[in-house]
C-alpha cells in the first residue's frame, strides 16, 4: 500500500487539502514575492494592528476608567472587545475564515455549549451568594468564627 504513495500522490493529496486562501499557490507555482502573497501578508499585519488597537483600548479603559464607568457597561465593553479579538485570531490567523462553510460550522457549533455553561454556572454562583447572605445559619457561623487579629 504505502509503496504506491510516492511523492507525487502525497503532493496531490496535499494540494487538494488547502483552504481557499492558499488553494492556488501550488497549482500556479506562485512564489513568496508574488502580489498574491504580498496582499496576504498585508492582511496579516492589518489584523495585527487591529488586535493591538483593541488591546490598547482595553488597557486604557482598565487603567483610567475602571471606576468611573458603571461596572456593567465596562464589563460589557471588555467582553465585546474580547470576542472581537478572538474572532480575528480564529478567522484570520488560524485561517478558519478561509475554510469550507461546513467545516467552520463543525468547529463552531460545539462552542455554543458555552452559552448554557456560562449562564448556568454564574447564575448558580449568584444564587449561592444570596443564599449565603440571607441564611440565618450563616450568621451563626460568622459570629462563632475566631476573630482575626486586627493588625
Amino acid at each position: 500500500m504505502s509503496a504506491h504513495h510516492n511523492t507525487d500522490s502525497i503532493q496531490h493529496l496535499y494540494e487538494g487539502d488547502q483552504s481557499k486562501l492558499y488553494s492556488g499557490v501550488m497549482a500556479h507555482h506562485s512564489d513568496i514575492q508574488s502580489s498574491e502573497s504580498k496582499s496576504q501578508v498585508k492582511k496579516i499585519w492589518k489584523v495585527f494592528w487591529i488586535l493591538l488597537a483593541i488591546t490598547i483600548v482595553e488597557v486604557v479603559i482598565g487603567m483610567f476608567f475602571s471606576y468611573s464607568i458603571p461596572v456593567f457597561i465596562r464589563n460589557t465593553i471588555f467582553l465585546a472587545l474580547t470576542i472581537f479579538k478572538a474572532g480575528y485570531i480564529v478567522a484570520i490567523f488560524m485561517h478558519l475564515g478561509d475554510e469550507f462553510k461546513g467545516f467552520i460550522v463543525t468547529v463552531l457549533i460545539p462552542l455554543f455549549l458555552f452559552v448554557w455553561f456560562i449562564i448556568a454556572f454564574l447564575a448558580d454562583g449568584f444564587f449561592w451568594l444570596r443564599m449565603n447572605n440571607e441564611s440565618p445559619a450563616r450568621q451563626n457561623i460568622v459570629n462563632s468564627a475566631p476573630a482575626p487579629h486586627a493588625k
Binding site: 487539502d17 512564489d31 485570531i89 449561592w128
Partner: protein, 252 residues
Amino acid sequence: MSHSTVVTSAPKENIWIGGRSPYNVSYGKMMMWFFLLSDALTFGALLISYGTTRFFSMVWPDPNEVFKAFPFMGHTSLPLLFVSLMTFILIMSSVTMVLAVHAGHYGDKKKVAYWLLWTIIGGICFLACQAWEWTHLHGELGGLWGTFTDPAIPVSKFEHFFNHNTAGKILQSEPLVAMQSTHNFFNYFFTITGFHGGHVTSGVVFNILILVNTVNGVYERRGHYEMIEKIGLYWHFVDLVWVFVFTCFYLL
C-alpha cells in the same frame, strides 16, 4: 444502488461520495482543530469555575490593586502595564507564526525558519515575563497555591489586594470572608495561568522541533510544510486563550 441515486440527485458535484476530502482539510489538520476544541472546553471549564467562585463571593480582589508591579520599577503603581506587555509579546509571536505558516505555503524554507525563530523568541519572552510575575507574587504572598488559609493571618496581609471603596466595609466587618476570596483568587490565578503557561511551554518545544526539521530540510523533501500549519494552529490557540485569561483576570 443508493449510491447511484445520490449521484443522479446531485449531478453537479457531491463532495461526500469519496475520493477527496470533503472540506479540503487533511486528517491531521482536522484532528488538530478537534483537539483544540476539547482544549477550549477545558480552559472554558476552568475560567467558568473561576467566574462562579467570584459570583458567590461577597468581595473579590481588585486586579488593579493586585497586578500593579513592573520589573525594576520598585513600588511604583503601574496597574495593567506589565500584563499589557505580555499580551503584546504573545500577539506579536502569533503574527510571526502566521507569517511562518504563510512562507510554508510558498515553500520558502529560509523564511519559515526565520519567522519560526522569532516565534520561539516571543514564546520564551512571554514565559520569562510569567516567571517574573509568579516570582513577584510568590514574594508577596509567601507561596503560590494554598496561601491565606490560616484564620490567624491579620487583615493587613491581604487588605491591599482589595479596592477599599467597594470592599472596605467587608474587610472590617468580615475579614475572614475577604481572606477566603484572596485564597480563591490566587489559587485560580496560579492554576489557570499555570495551565496556560504549560501550553506555551509545550508550544515552544513544538516550535523548536519544527524549526530543526525545517532547517534539516525534512519538509522540503516531504514537499509541503503542513506541519507548520498544524503547530501554528496550536500556537494561535494559546494566544486565543490568553485573550480570555487577560480579560477574566486582569480586566473584569
